[in-house]
Symmetry: C2
């Protein structure tokens, strides 16, 4: 590692140390999608809530049809029919049967459901052509979840199946850490809005769009802001957003150089923000700290778009996870054979853009590896990780590869 | 495969055949996140738009400092400074230098940027201690993307990096197939709203929550509806939603049995909807077709929650992809060693819930494999796929495993 620089791990540890999990909030189920349980969810009652039929058929006392056969069917009079949702407290008299639908409450005394195919399908006097095992086509109360059981542990991210389980157990809401609200703040006098004409010396802003999209894709709520190279204006936006958001992510203005490093200049009075060089490429200049009365965490990412993107993957995603009380999500890692040689500066860990072909076990690095070169990034599906001491790798060598989220 | 049933592949083919890609629409960049390009995006101009500095330093004529050394530095007077965003059309006079910031427009004539560390850092008379290669720290106009080049092909899903590339190239909007609007329609008299008290014989609705969450997670826009076991009411909701949505997904009411199969009953007059048994478990009863004047595709999924979930993975996700003009996304497939035996009905392909441990190369099937058992589904991360002819597999055998989305 180059002297005067910190490792990726050191910076990540400081990022995580700067973040406290959000206050839990009770959200309606639909609003809780993608959020993270702040406490274990338990079942107030059993699931299913009552014995019920797992298919359409006839509810019987199994003993009544024990001697049934195709040659000598047993005949039982049909006394009722029970559709799903029927709440009557029925009891099945011995020597009778009822028609019952999938999901319907099994009448008292009944201990099996006979498929229609094993009968003559009558609506009056039903002929049973074979015996039925006790418990056939019956779902017992609580055979999915028993009353009081833990449904999901704290820390569970609520995807479709988890939402379904909560709903099925009657939970109309859940205590969760919700999607973090992230203020994305792009800086730079050179930035123009995409879709507007471009005057000389200026470029279209891409970082604020990219980072906001990345936050949303990762499950956060993002708001874009853009501000010029005026430290007091930048500070004003930062302070305003510190009060409104759970995390601030800036891009640009953190180089090692001069008076034009506007984010550094804006935060120069804030002892709680640390700027450092991280031994990585792209993405060397990084900052982490807290701003505002609520000590809202702020990540200051470099301004080159590829640097900002890689930095978000390494530090922004873990920050979002920490806000909802989770350890950093693991980006999928694999090893793959390089299809072309790569270079890396000594003492820095490189994250080179490439196309991973998992089936072939290969990864093809792009030629355009400049930290401004979005063209390659937009076609990449993986980052090739070249360790700090390594300055070059040959085609055919196996490299560490990290899939892009 | 059991006779009278169709294969998963046959049904999937009919699902895909029922769907035409959505009409493309031009969306603002932020609204286009996650949407799919309906045409290739091209670069109107080069990217970067102009030669610029890749770091803070001094712009020079490289030939002016060719003989510089630490012992005999070359001195050049500083004539200007150029911050990023500065649009002046400057020319660098031979024998002079200018201070230049990262991203700033390189003045005419200059052919290299010298890092501050190679100089005395002066703001007036700058001492250069070493020569600089031509092109040093200069990003050439178009070295990321040339004017007129294809940025992204049609069919690209717009993630953060793709949004960034479009933005950087000045695109304020994109012609895309947007997130499909999906009407999720749960059916059944037995369904109660989670959070409300449960009367006898009823259960809390989970399918509409689950399917809506699954649609949203897959990039669609979902609206939940619920309707009782009244064919005319079901038909009314279907017809209303056919006019409003791009895809209808129902759950329940498609069993093989009686008059209580409300979705079947509601659509009985619709020749354009086909109901069939698919040789899979869970999820045998399926339907696909088109409803309404616009022939809106409709997927009728079974009502057991696990059946509905598995059906959505197999048929719903491909339907959503087809709506945006893409081939079905590939769920990650792998092979893993069973930690416990599993059973499967002959002639049906089973999709059993399990926990895949990729590192260990194992998959642990749950004991609760009933199609109503959400408890196991909510803890699963994978489906174990047991082929149609296989009725049992032993612990230690290698099984096909499909990761859940």
């Amino acid at each position: 590692m180059t002297s005067g620089m910190d490792s990726v791990e050191t910076h990540l540890a400081e990022v995580l140390a700067a973040i406290r999990p959000l206050q839990p909030a009770r959200l309606d189920l639909a609003a809780a999608e993608g959020a993270v349980l702040a406490e274990a969810a338990t079942a107030a009652g059993p699931l299913p809530p009552f014995d019920n039929a797992s298919m359409d058929g006839y509810a019987v006392h199994a003993s009544d049809v024990a001697v049934a056969s195709a040659d000598a069917p047993v005949t039982l009079p049909l006394t009722d029919q029970i559709p799903a949702g029927d709440g009557r407290a029925l009891t099945l008299a011995p020597g009778t049967c009822v028609r019952i639908m999938t999901g319907a409450l099994l009448p008292g005394g009944a201990d099996a459901v006979v498929p229609v195919e094993w009968t003559n399908g009558s609506r009056e006097r039903v002929l049973f052509y074979q015996p039925v095992p006790k418990g056939n086509a019956v779902r017992r109360q609580g055979d999915d979840v028993t009353a009081g059981a833990e449904l999901l542990p704290a820390g569970t991210r609520l995807g479709p199946a988890q939402i379904a389980l909560l709903a099925a157990s009657g939970h109309g809401s859940a205590l969760v850490r919700a999607a973090p609200r992230v203020a994305v703040i792009g800086t730079g006098n050179e930035l123009s809005e995409p879709g507007s004409p471009l005057s000389p010396g200026r470029i279209w802003d891409s970082n604020s769009y990219m980072l906001a999209a990345a936050v949303r894709k990762a499950g956060g709520v993002a708001e874009r802001h853009r501000v010029g190279d005026d430290p007091s204006a930048v500070l004003a936006v930062i302070e305003e957003q510190a009060a409104a958001a759970d995390l601030l992510i800036t891009s640009g203005g953190v180089s090692m150089g001069g008076e034009h490093d506007v984010v550094k200049a804006a935060l120069s009075g804030h002892a709680a923000v640390t700027f450092r060089k991280v031994a990585m490429q792209p993405g060397m200049p990084q900052g982490i700290g807290a701003v505002g009365d609520g000590l809202t965490p702020i990540l200051t990412l470099p301004g080159n778009p590829v640097s900002a993107f890689v930095s978000f993957c390494l530090f922004g995603l873990p920050a979002l996870d920490a806000l909802v009380g989770l350890p950093p999500r693991a980006l999928r890692r694999t090893r793959a054979e390089l299809t072309a040689p790569v270079r890396s500066p000594e003492g820095k860990r490189s994250y080179l853009r490439g196309v991973l072909d998992e089936r072939a076990g290969t990864v093809a690095p792009f030629t355009g590896q400049g930290s401004h070169q979005l063209g390659a990034l937009a076609l990449a599906n993986a980052l090739i990780v070249v360790p700090e001491p390594v300055v070059s790798m040959e085609a055919g060598e196996a490299a560490d590869v990290m899939s892009l989220p």
